[in-house]
């Protein structure tokens, strides 16, 4: 264990994404070896091998996943949720 400056999302992203494969725009697979998340500009920086890349949180990318995700079209009314706690 070591003291490390980070943020909540960076901890989550690192746990989930390091080791996963993401594809570049031209279809080149990249294994995510290292990851930073900047909470101010909301960007993810990944390192794969000796190369590093900037990615946005408000964009979709192609990831290598076990099961394909199906697109969900709601056929019921919205669940509004609450904030009563």
């Amino acid at each position: 264990m070591a003291k490390q400056e980070t943020n909540f999302l960076e901890i989550l992203f690192r746990n989930l994404l390091i080791g996963m494969t993401v594809y570049t725009d031209d279809g080149t697979p990249l294994v995510i070896d290292e990851l930073n998340y900047d909470p101010v500009i909301k960007h993810i920086f990944i390192k794969s091998g000796s190369d590093s890349y900037k990615m946005r949180l408000d964009k979709n990318y192609d990831f290598e996943v076990t099961n394909a995700f199906s697109k969900i079209v709601p056929n019921k009314e919205k669940i509004h949720g609450k904030r009563d706690r």
């Binding site: 930073n36 900047d38 101010v40 500009i41 909301k42 960007h43 920086f45 900037k54 946005r56």
Partner: protein, 246 residues
């Protein structure tokens, strides 16, 4: 970068316009503007003299500065240089107007002791003065950002520019809404200028590291030109903008 500016006035037959003479004919200016702003270190043009005071910046600065914040920063700079206790009452009034006082307590005590205000009235006045300043500052910073976009697209392609605008959106919001520039400007947090210069939290992850292809000049030129607009308020302001113009 050098941000200190000086306010200059033209002299007609040894008399300074706005100071010694309140009315003058345009012909007597020999084609020169009555007032000019120059950066510290620049040579004072022939025929002009320095009129760099808090009162003069308030009286004449807005006529020639690109925006309110140019005048505010120069007034604050002079206040810091002189110190609160060295200011005249007229200068203290302007320091309050431009949110250039060192701390609210000094401003409140001044208003209570010289204007006969109660503590509550003085605190209310200081708060309202700040709010008026804040509204003017927001207008100025929003205008600067809009002109900074023009600077950006002189250095990088439209596609890269759009990527940059999306990347720095939250920093621009902080700049426009709260006036945050960054660590070097006593903001105690990362700001747009930290991103421009890849400093503090954006070390190695700022503007230059995006790897955009420059259309002209160097990264240093690009950063300086952005600094000029966003920090110094130095930009060419169109005076022919009208809705519906082609």
């Amino acid at each position: 970068m050098n941000t200190k500016k000086h306010l200059l006035a033209y002299q007609i037959s040894g008399q300074t316009v706005g100071i010694d003479i309140m009315g003058w004919n345009d012909a007597d200016l020999n084609g020169n503007p009555a007032f000019q702003i120059i950066l510290s270190g620049q040579t004072v043009p022939s025929g002009y003299t320095d009129i760099d005071t808090i009162v003069n910046w308030d009286k004449f600065g807005l006529q020639i500065a690109n925006d309110y914040s140019v005048v505010k920063f120069e007034i604050k700079d002079i206040v810091n240089l002189i110190g609160w206790t060295g200011l005249t009452n007229a200068e203290k009034d302007l320091a309050i107007k431009y949110y250039a006082y060192p701390d609210p307590t000094s401003a409140v005590i001044y208003l209570m002791t010289t204007k006969g205000m109660t503590q509550q009235q003085a605190q209310g006045f200081v708060l309202m003065s700040w709010h008026k300043h804040h509204l003017r500052n927001i207008v100025a910073y929003r205008q600067r950002w809009n002109y900074a976009k023009f600077t950006v697209l002189q250095y990088i392609s439209r596609g890269d520019g759009e990527d940059l605008f999306n990347t720095v959106k939250s920093l621009v919001d902080l700049y426009i809404e709260v006036g945050i520039l960054g660590w070097e400007y006593s903001d105690y947090q990362d700001g747009i200028i930290d991103y421009v210069y890849s400093t503090h939290g954006f070390t190695g992850q700022g503007l230059e590291e995006n790897g955009y292809a420059l259309l002209q000049g160097t990264w240093a030129d690009f950063k300086t030109d952005l600094d000029k607009v966003l920090v110094c308020g130095i930009y060419y302001k169109y005076d022919d903008l009208k809705l519906g113009d082609g």
